[in-house]
Symmetry: C2
Subunit: 200 residues, 2 copies
Amino acid sequence: MSQSPPTPRPQGRRPGGADTRGEILEAARAVFTESGYGKATIRAIARAAGVDPALVYHYFDNKPSLFAATLELPFDPRSVSTEASSGGGGGARIIAGFLRRWDEADGPPGQALRTVIEAIASSEEAATSVREFLAERVWGEPGAGEDSERFYRFVSLVSAQLVGVAWARYLLRVEPLASATPEQIGEWVGPIIDRLRTGG
Amino acid sequence: MSQSPPTPRPQGRRPGGADTRGEILEAARAVFTESGYGKATIRAIARAAGVDPALVYHYFDNKPSLFAATLELPFDPRSVSTEASSGGGGGARIIAGFLRRWDEADGPPGQALRTVIEAIASSEEAATSVREFLAERVWGEPGAGEDSERFYRFVSLVSAQLVGVAWARYLLRVEPLASATPEQIGEWVGPIIDRLRTGG
């Protein structure tokens, strides 16, 4: 008795197509940024994407996990992981790439980061979703034979470093971090990440 | 024509006494923590302190500057500055002391920090007040002959470091930062601050 998975059916709005998940994510990113995490609703996101709310729940379990999924693009997890494992001066590239992405995000500078910070500060569920997202999609797992305590200390301290610098640049807006280029900040902070990596 | 400054008059509530400023601050800290920065009102703070709202404005210009003033205790600026200038292993003491203060603040762990983060994320005026508070009360000024560019780079990067670690510990709650003792985290992160200080 083989059963094919249920196919989403049109309900008077646009049905789920090949790119529907991506379109929902794009709409969610815009609504979260504009309304803030707390006031954004699945209904508003579905409306912005031109789909039925049920279809949003089909792709994403709930608001926190949808929120975590919207973080994929600004963080670009793959390139960060690649840089982190490439060693030798990788710290500067991680910092610069991370800040360039927030610099280039839609809306006023720092607006995208503000949404993430506000979400995590205001909702433990959002914090949990972001933590799970980081664990599954950004940090990866310790390699075979790698000291796992050391690995998690490294990734959590690097995350703290990245968020601290972005927070000081975009939200507190303290100089020289507010006006420096991503590359300058990469030069200042990169060696910290390189040393955390080598345990120095 | 000498004029004495206007004396606050009783208005059916307790008049300003020697300790009134401190009592308003204590009430403000409680109201900001409980309601969050956005929903806290001068009226509610005055009520909690048992004084007239006019007296709150007598001591503090507005809500952002009152908010910045409530930060004095948790940051304990003097001891942080003293540690920072003492050199040699001071980084570990700065980190541990900073985290101990947030650990010991009233309310659930991280609640006090959550209020600060939320205030800065939601209000540019609050961000400006906190930035001015840090500049005037915590960072101080570069010493005579000291490179001021280098000085401000140091204090802003240390601030980013402290907030990043506290954010990861209390709000994102990522391990091992969430469960480690302030002293352990001081050992991990202290050398970063020491190196930033020596420009290494």
